[in-house]
């Protein structure tokens, strides 16, 4: 197996040890802890007031817009990273191209700003 794949296998082991550790501690807790559920205990906790309605609701549409903006910027970052490792090799040409790209990116942000999308309330 190549070193590259072995590194990812190590990541798998790390995920597994987290699950094992969490499961082990929860298992020990399951042996030690009392278990006396009552109807009152199982109601959703809202500072002592009985809950009205249920805990599910639709979310505000602004979360959707912010999520879209996030996806745009995050994908731009994926394009910037490969160039960032090779700045010196691409030299002035790469620099000018990337500056145009970044200015377009900021322009998009300025447009969203002007449209009032970035206002939370």
């Amino acid at each position: 197996m190549s070193q590259f794949l072995r590194d990812y296998l190590t990541v798998v082991w790390f995920g597994a040890i987290a699950l094992v550790l969490g499961g082990l501690l929860l298992g020990v807790a399951a042996l030690l802890r009392p278990n006396k559920p009552t109807a009152q205990k199982l109601i959703a906790y809202e500072s002592g007031v009985d809950p009205v309605g249920d805990g599910w609701s639709q979310s505000q549409v602004r979360y959707y817009i912010f999520a879209l903006l996030f996806v745009i910027f995050d994908i731009e970052a994926v394009f910037i990273f490969p160039w960032a490792t090779q700045v010196e090799r691409y030299g002035a040409f790469g620099l000018v191209v990337m500056l145009i790209f970044l200015i377009l990116l900021l322009d998009g942000l300025a447009y969203a700003w002007k449209k009032g999308v970035l206002r939370w309330v």
Binding site: K41, S57, G91, W113
Partner: protein, 348 residues
Amino acid sequence: MIAVDLPYWAQSLLRVLGGTVAVLLPAGTIVYLFLFKMMSFMQSRLGPMEAGPYGSMQLFAEVGKWLQKEDIQPENADKRVFKIAPLVVLVSTFLLVAVVPFGPDAYFTDFEAGIFYALAVSSVSVLGILIAGWSSANKYSLLGGLRAAGQLIAYELPMVLAVIGVVIQAGTMNLNQIVAAQNAGSMFGWDGLGNPYVLTQFVGFVVFMIAIQAELTQAPFDMPIAESELVSGYMTEYSGFRFLIFFIAEFATVGVFTLIASVLFLGGWGVPFAWFGWESLGDVDNWMNVVGPLVMITKMLALSGIVMWVRFSYPRLREDQLQRFAWKVLIPVSVVNIMVTAILKVAF
């Protein structure tokens, strides 16, 4: 360079044990040193004093106490998802620590795109927080989960963009080589300190520290937990050991994020190579594998001390202030920082 040649299973075992220590040790240290003691002293009280000398055994007492707490799962909760959520957050912490180098050969993984991997898995914890908020069937939890998602999304971007400045300067995404680039570097021809990016990437460092403060949901960015309005946010319905797993994961992530920050900006495990006449990563002596982790932990404690100091000092931001700060200040500043860094790198 390691003298003994271990079979693969033994290496993996060592790595996994080392990773567990690298997650739990910083978490315990941060909780005791900062959350128990520093916070108490800043508030003119002593903090825990009974368990062990100066309350140093308090952590074990706490774990013992939480082990015996009843595990209450609300009737309306989506039980299976509700149980998984804390484990997802814990797994994300372990995946994150896998990338941190502690010495020239003392690393768990040696990814070429290490910092890219770290940024990718750091957003897994958002999933855990979101499913915890959603599966609890509690209005406070849902609000806390949504706030956490909105906040972590907004502050992920400045964090990623601040890292790009470091990558431009170092010319690599491999964390070990970023460490080497800083310690082998020189500032204006003087190499007595190497070139720690906290000096030459200061804007990036400040943006990164603010962004991790928000990613870790520490005050003043603790809107998702906001105990005065949301009880305990997405953790409201969790009790007993499941709550403690969230708590451990939170402080372990503080440790891991500050470890990554010290790799990126403070020179990581290294000391300036000029001190011992090393030229590059290959020249570093073997004893650095032992001293390196100690150097890392010192730097980690300094940075997490700053994170906690800010946490105890500032009042909470409002949700709209928080979003405005990320989108209208941090993101433009970090994009401009990338441009300036790139121009200077090509010009000189």
